[in-house]
Amino acid sequence: MRRLLFLAALLLATPAFADEAGDLKAIKAQIAQMQHDYDGRIRSLEKRLAKAEGELKVARATPPGKATAVASATGSNAAAQTFDQTAPQPSAPPPDAAPQDVVADNGPPPPAAAPTSNNAFNPGIAAVLNGFYVAASRDTQKQTIRGVQNGDESGLPLRGFSLGESEVSLTANIDPYMSGFLDFSMQDDNSLSVEEAYILSKDLPYGLTVKAGRFLSGIGYLNERHAHDWSFSDAPLPYRAFLNSQYGDDGVQVRWLAPTDQFLEFGAELFRGDAYPAAGAGHTGQGTVTAFVHTGNDIDDASSYLAALSYLHSRAENRTDDDGHSFTGDDDLGIASLIYKWAPGGNPTVNNLTLSSELFYGREAGAFDAVPFAQDRFGWYAQGVYQFMPRWSFGLRYAALSTSMPGPMLSGSPLDDFGHSPRAETALLEFDTSEFGRFRMQYTHDESDLKPNDELLFQYTVIYGPHGAHRY
């Protein structure tokens, strides 16, 4: 049929006055040649078609049992992959997948939801961006916390505009037994640091979980939460003074979750001891040991609580600060934490309230600038954040410290609080564009140094990329 059409077209195209015999012959010969070529091509196409059909029949007749199971279990292209690899793969979906469209209400239904995972086998990459604007009555970089040796991260944010800390994290399952987490942190001064890099067990029996690498310690409540997860834009005063805002180090952690209806979790950690309050990786690189217990439950539909007791012992070998002071000795710290959350009917979307408080009690003993001493230290904070309408919340925080006088030899040193008890009062107003975007305005009256500092801070924090759900 097609050939006839082709001829007709050629005839129509033939000039009407080609009456010379020679021309006609030539044309006829041309046509015959073309017809011959065309037939040859069609025959070869028919052959290929027959061959393909034959192969398809073979594939249909002998589908491996496994392939069928996989096809109906995942509804994916898995079946196509399990076909004989040497046979040409039909480009159409495998025949086993076809009946899916017929399945409606009965029989094994099509798993419509494709298996969700973060970018298939690529790690989930998430970024946290931060920005600050700070107006302060005094130079925030010169403010110190009286009565303790200040760590390098214990200070207030820079005056004016600054980036604060931005983070990029990579997370994925490594295999059925472990997952990995890597978190880079970029500072204002363009320095890059590894904030966390750890492996986490997934499949240990008896409710055990093991974490190893560099990570934030599970002591206290705020410590193991990243800064973007805190209710205020900075750490409360006792965290700044005693833990350099947050204690993270290289080590190993074991947690055990008890098989009880009451949430009850025990944990212990052993760290290198290279980060404040530890230093110098004492005890052959096992300078810090911690233990903690968490418990919590619902009080009723509307409210729940979490309580924790934590203990940290760390060894400091020549812990120095910017002013050249040095501490060598032992640091013991106990933390009691209580967190209470309430929302009407347990539905936090419109209104919700979080109250939290932590008490710190510790002792540092050893030699400060080669002068033997022992100092008792106490700190606490209490805070509340109330979401008064969707997207908007308001918070208040009070924090205070007191430290004992380490003796006359150290009067005038950073450990001398000059009879002044550091404290800070903070108020917060927060607006969330969504669960991934947040703007804050925070006012702090800070009396951690001898002269008070008033600080007004604006901050944005955004998270993008697959970011894990947050802890309670």
Binding site: A114, T116, K202, L257, P259, Q262, S434, A469, H470, Y472
Partner: protein
């Protein structure tokens, strides 16, 4: 009471091998279905109530403790619980209910999901890559899930397989009867224009032939601004709706505002078991849902 609390760990540790299946149901509708299928062979713990937004649950200590001892989680899936279940699973560290294990049951895997987004972008609001997860708003979706759930229970607890299959058969019979009744009752709702607060009712709309004129959220999960609500009112002027619906767990302000300014009734629907006092189980959930919409139609 306290004495019993102290005894609890001992009891839990000494539980005999032939204990009931511990079911951790993420939402009340799946908790109710687990009870229908499992009867007294299962202990069902329901993680959320009808007053709570299933998108926004916190990974509370009580949920972690319950997930620790669960044999199976019965959840909606399709990323509805993405904001909290991953953290609970991580902290509970219970390999039985890890993703992909037999103890991980997700209802949306057994129903053809609507509205798979063509563009995955957070700028589109709170969208679910797998499709709209609110399948329980159409009771026709319950049966396929019930069948799969009975099969799953039987797989996990072969000793009681006959019970699960028997209960399924009984449930399927009662459900089919109820479906016919609901469809007849809801006949006046066919073709009715409605406005919805969250775009969560697509399956119910298809079931009853309701026509969604406009959602009160500019994008899923994004609370409406007053400017957007003005747009909604304009749309409702052009295409009037009979009533505006919201789920029991949702803030009543946007729908009240629209109700007042557009002069149409606001209808609060239970959305799930326990959403209203009347919605006591799966059957009364749809009784009450249809009843409330018929009431809205009369106003």
């Amino acid at each position: 009471m306290r004495k019993y609390l102290l005894l609890a760990p001992l009891i839990a540790l000494s539980t005999p091998a032939h204990a009931n299946l511990n079911v951790f149901a993420c939402e009340p509708e799946w908790g109710a279905l687990s009870t229908e299928i499992g009867g007294d062979k299962v202990n069902v713990y329901t993680a959320t109530t009808g007053a709570q937004d299933p998108h926004q649950i916190q990974a509370r200590p009580s949920l972690i403790a319950k997930a620790r001892s669960a044999d199976v989680t019965v959840c909606d899936g399709a990323e509805l619980e993405i904001g909290w279940m991953p953290m609970i699973l991580q902290q509970a560290n219970n390999s039985k209910i890890a993703p992909g294990q037999p103890g991980d049951f997700t209802a949306t895997s057994y129903v053809r999901l609507q509205e798979q987004p063509s563009r995955l972008d957070r700028a589109e609001g709170d969208i679910h890559a797998a499709g709209n997860p609110h399948i329980q708003t159409d009771p026709r979706n319950i049966l396929p899930v019930a069948k799969a759930l009975a099969a799953r229970f039987a797989q996990l607890d072969a000793a009681n397989a006959a019970t699960y299959n028997g209960r399924l058969a009984d449930f399927a019979k009662r459900w089919t009867t109820a479906l016919a009744k609901w469809t007849a009752q809801a006949a006046p709702l066919k073709g009715v224009n409605i406005a919805v607060q969250h775009h969560a009712w697509i399956y119910m709309e298809q079931w009853l032939g309701l026509h969604e004129v406009v959602p009160l959220e500019p994008k899923p999960g994004v609370p409406p601004s007053s400017g957007y609500l003005a747009e909604v009112l304009q749309k409702l002027q052009a295409t009037p709706a009979k009533f505006v619906i919201r789920a029991a767990y949702e803030d009543d302000r946007p729908s009240s505002f629209v109700s007042e300014h557009a002069g149409i009734p606001a209808v609060m629907l239970p959305y799930t078991v326990g959403g209203t006092d009347q919605a006591k189980d799966l059957f009364s959930l749809y009784d009450d849902t249809i009843n409330r919409m018929l009431q809205g139609l009369k106003k």
